[in-house]
Amino acid sequence: MIGTKSFEAIVNGEQVKLNIPQNLRLIDVLRNYLGLTGTKEGCGEGECGACTVLVDGEPYNSCLLFALQVQNKNILTIEGLASYNNLHPLQESFLEHGAVQCGYCTPGMLLVAKALLDKNPNPTREEIKVAISGNLCRCTGYSKIVDAISAVAEKGVKR
């Protein structure tokens, strides 16, 4: 039997304290313990980016991290990006540019894009492509996702 351990972190701005099995993946804590199901699992092997969350502002595949590896860190999931009434400019841009089809890649794409723009508010189209190159999308062909991100960059909106 694998023992449990206390896990503490700030998730979407709120302090979280849980007792969890030591080998629990971060994605499972988010989805199964905290009900944050906006984080998606597409492969469980670090190959699709659907499970991307930001840890202290950096994008990580939450399927590859044990929760205990992010002890005391600051974690942002899609649910923390904005609320229904107050969308992040990237979310608005994704809607406006038709960057969402089935939507399964969308949370990961949005978070990777946020991490990019936070560091580099005016990336080139190439830089945007490199930033999202670890995130697979099977529906869109990526054009409109790149359009949506660059539109926010051009506006210079940053949050």
């Binding site: 989805r31 199964n32 009900g35 944050l36 199901t37 906006g38 984080t39 998606k40 699992e41 597409g42 492969c43 469980g44 092997e45 699709c48 659907a50 999931t77 899609i78 649910e79 990006l81 904005a82 609320s83 229904y84 969308l87 979310q91 994704f94 809607l95 406006e96 038709g98 969402v100 089809q101 089935c102 939507g103 399964y104 890649c105 969308t106 949370p107 949005l110 697979l136 999308c137 099977r138 529906c139």
Partner: protein, 418 residues
């Protein structure tokens, strides 16, 4: 006026905020986790199946094998020839042997490892061209050729005699996966009236309902299928994967059951695009007018029928490409093998022929010294054109406009290329 306006997605808000619920995002108090035991062999006979150890594992609510299915043990969009759970004969690695419902995923996994199956390996065939031969191992006793459609129009022999140029070639396409980003998942439960409810990502809730009722031997009105948000499908969610398994586990335990596939299981469970072996012979006149076309398609149906007859029909009907050809001879076959079964995938049998017919067009053009645009333009369907099946295209034939738009975008001087 809203037609022609690029309005944002109806359900977009839920998708950009992470609130849209895909099937794996549903949870229920007291739910069990379902897992599937699959065969490692593509062609075998089950000699012995022992689930006793798994059943006695703590936390296992139910182990289900073929004997436990209350209704018909078969599913399929045309013929119900795919087993829900294999009774004795394994025909492909798609086959499921047993199901487990347990209090946790870990226990369910462990229970799978405790199920003992003894197989006797049987001869197998993995190439549809081999499978067509007299002496091939049989995937089905009735024979491996599932479907054959001939198309005969005009007189191809005469057409080839009149042709100034003829090109002849073989082409083949590979097996591919839909690779939708959301792996299969479902949650089923019994509602307050005693009926079964299934939340799943599918392409056709009403069909799933029919299949479930048939498997459980209950009335259609005792089943409700609700579509969750679908994470891409592209044809890969037309055949049943976990719909019947999840429903069975709930029906037999009367408890909510959740099933979620890993990416690997997703690859193994759903259909694939047909590999098709194609032979083409195409003839045209000096002016670049197509005059005769002969084509053969041998499609690998895998072990189960799924949509194979319809898909190879579609290949045959689209064999000429969007071009008028007066003399046509086509034969399309769907053939069973012990490969994973193939079914619907975006393009549905009309995707493979262009690999051949568009290559042939370029080769003919080259022989004649014509521009690739020219040979296409001279044969392109227009309103009033007749297809290989004798169908008159009466309205909305925008092919030439698409040719013009793309050619102009590349700066081709189309005036000189007609």
């Amino acid at each position: 006026m809203t037609i022609g306006k690029s309005l944002p997605r109806y359900e977009g808000l839920g998708k950009v905020t992470g609130q849209a619920k895909f099937p794996a995002d549903y949870y229920m108090p007291g739910m069990l986790y379902g897992k599937t035991l699959r065969t490692p062999l593509a062609s075998a006979k089950i000699l012995r199946l022992d689930t006793s150890k798994a059943e006695s594992l703590r936390g296992v609510a139910k182990v289900v094998t073929a004997q436990d299915i209350p209704g018909e043990n078969g599913h399929g969009v045309i013929f119900p020839d795919a087993p829900i759970l294999v009774e004795d004969r394994v025909r492909s690695i798609n086959d499921a042997i047993a199901l487990v419902a347990a209090e946790s995923e870990e226990i369910a996994e462990e229970a799978l490892s405790l199920i003992k199956v003894e197989y006797e390996e049987l001869p197998a065939v993995y190439d549809p061209r081999e499978a067509m031969k007299e002496d091939s191992p049989l995937v089905w006793d009735k024979g491996n050729i599932l479907y054959h459609l001939p198309i005969r129009k005009g007189d191809v022999e005469k057409g080839f005699r009149e042709a100034d140029v003829i090109v002849e070639n073989k082409y083949s396409t590979q097996m591919v996966d839909h690779a939708f980003l959301q792996p299969e998942a479902a949650l089923s439960y019994i509602d307050e009236t005693g009926n079964l409810v299934l939340r799943v990502a599918t392409q056709y809730v009403h069909w799933d309902r029919t299949e479930i009722a048939r498997a459980l031997n209950i009335n259609i009105n005792q089943v409700r299928v609700v579509c969750a948000t679908v994470g891409g499908a592209f044809g890969g969610r037309e055949d049943m994967t976990l719909q019947l398994h999840c429903s069975l586990l709930t029906w037999l335990t009367k408890r909510p059951v959740k099933m979620v596939y890993s990416r690997e299981e997703s690859f193994k469970a759903h259909s694939k695009r047909h590999p098709i072996y194609m032979k083409y012979k195409t003839g045209c006149t000096k002016e670049g007018k197509l005059i005769a076309l002969e084509a053969e398609f041998i499609g690998d149906a895998g072990a189960y029928s799924s949509w194979s007859p319809n898909i190879l029909r579609k290949s045959a009907v689209h064999a000429t490409g969007p071009y008028y050809v007066p003399n046509v001879k086509v034969d399309a076959y769907a053939v069973h093998t012990n490969n994973p079964f193939t079914g619907a995938m975006r393009g549905f049998g009309a995707a493979q022929p262009p690999i051949a017919y568009e290559a042939q067009m370029d080769l003919l053009a080259k022989e004649l010294g014509l521009h690739p645009f020219t040979i296409r333009w001279r044969n392109a369907f227009e309103e009033g054109s007749e297809t290989a099946t004798g169908q008159i295209l009466e309205t909305s034939v925008g092919l030439k406009e698409t040719l013009l738009a793309t050619a102009k975008a590349y700066g081709w001087d189309v005036e000189k290329l007609y």
